[in-house]
């Protein structure tokens, strides 16, 4: 019973940690995200006055820490452009904020459910504890 209590307690602490850590993590990633479109620069596109061939149909929020991945030119709508050739040459995966938020959402949901289960388990164990102890004493 003592081991179960410890296990439930540790589980509750860990799930609580993940649940509450997910909130600041979301803020940190959101603050790093940049609205941009990936583009593949090419001589051919330049012939027709384009910075390159757009890969994203619409701008997306990307988390890319390497400033060199961004082109000086902007899209017609004024959004930043990410050099896809640079990403590929440097092995940078174009991480999207929506992926991070989706994953953090899953972590919040999972750890929230786990926390509830652990706390319920602890409550049940504590509730059952005294009668067992008193029975032993008798």
């Amino acid at each position: 019973m003592k081991h179960l209590k410890t296990l439930l307690f540790v589980g509750a602490i860990l799930s609580g940690f993940f649940l509450f850590a997910a909130f600041p993590a979301q803020s940190v990633f959101s603050s790093k995200a940049v609205l941009a479109q990936r583009v593949l620069p090419s001589e051919e596109a330049a012939l027709f006055g384009d910075a390159g061939d757009l890969l994203d149909s619409e701008p997306k929020l990307y988390i890319i820490s390497d400033a060199a991945a961004f082109l000086e030119e902007e899209s017609e709508a004024g959004h930043k452009l990410i050099d896809q050739a640079y990403l590929e040459a440097n092995g940078i995966y174009p991480l999207q904020l929506q992926t991070v938020l989706f994953t953090l959402g899953q972590i919040k949901l999972g750890s929230g459910i786990t926390l509830m289960l652990m706390l319920t388990g602890l409550w049940l164990v504590r509730r059952k504890g005294p009668p067992l102890a008193s029975a032993k004493a008798a």
């Binding site: 990936r38 593949l40 001589e43 012939l47 027709f48 994203d56 149909s57 174009p94 929506q98 992926t99």
Partner: protein, 201 residues
């Protein structure tokens, strides 16, 4: 005298227009690989990912004066890359696009209508996963006459840039997204094509 000059000018103008109005055939896929690009964009809550290929082939007939056009474009399914090898393998597998059985994705125009400027409405037969459907898409077609710049970019003859973006439902073409992948791959995907054709060989 003035009338004679006007007739002569009109005749010259007609000749000049006639000289540039000739319909030409533009080959796609004959030049540098980077001259072509097609993307397939799948958007879900989890991620928006892009499959990309530069393996476009085909030919277009285009007249920059009369705006008459027709043609066909195809791409190899196995050449589409998403940036993650495992995802590419899944995409090529019989469960999805079945690249061994249905090797290409094709588009053949049946009607091209000039809207304004470089804008066109293109109707054609789109074939994916062995299923052919008639679709109408918006496209831009830009023409550049042969010059030092076009030659510098590796083109031979006049150059044509064709761009189009349109959406299709994968289920309309017999591609069923497995339930386990439904959160990561959307049934509706956006296809974008930028193709460059050259009139020279």
């Amino acid at each position: 005298m003035k009338l004679t000059n006007a007739i002569a000018a009109a005749a010259l103008l007609t000749l000049a227009v006639g000289a540039t109005a000739a319909e030409q055939t533009y080959n796609i896929g004959g030049g540098k690989k980077s001259q072509q690009i097609a993307t397939v964009e799948s958007a879900t809550d989890f991620e928006t990912f892009i499959g990309r290929t530069d393996s476009l082939k085909g030919s277009l007939k285009f007249d920059p004066v009369t705006h008459k056009a027709s043609g066909n474009i195809s791409l190899e399914v196995k050449s589409i890359k998403t940036g993650i090898e495992l995802r590419d393998e899944h995409m090529r597998s019989p469960m999805w696009l079945d690249a061994e059985k249905h090797k290409t994705i094709d588009f053949k125009t049946t009607k091209i209508k000039h809207v304004k400027g470089n804008s066109y409405k293109v109707t054609g037969k789109f074939t994916l996963h062995g299923v052919t459907k008639s679709i109408t898409v918006d496209a831009t077609i830009k023409h550049l006459a042969e010059s030092a710049k076009t030659k510098g970019a590796g083109f031979k003859g006049d150059v044509l840039q064709v761009k189009s973006t349109f959406k299709i439902k994968m289920s309309d073409y017999g591609v069923k997204i497995p339930d386990m992948a439904a959160a990561k791959v959307s049934d509706t995907v956006k296809i974008a094509i930028t193709a460059y054709g050259q009139s020279g060989k």
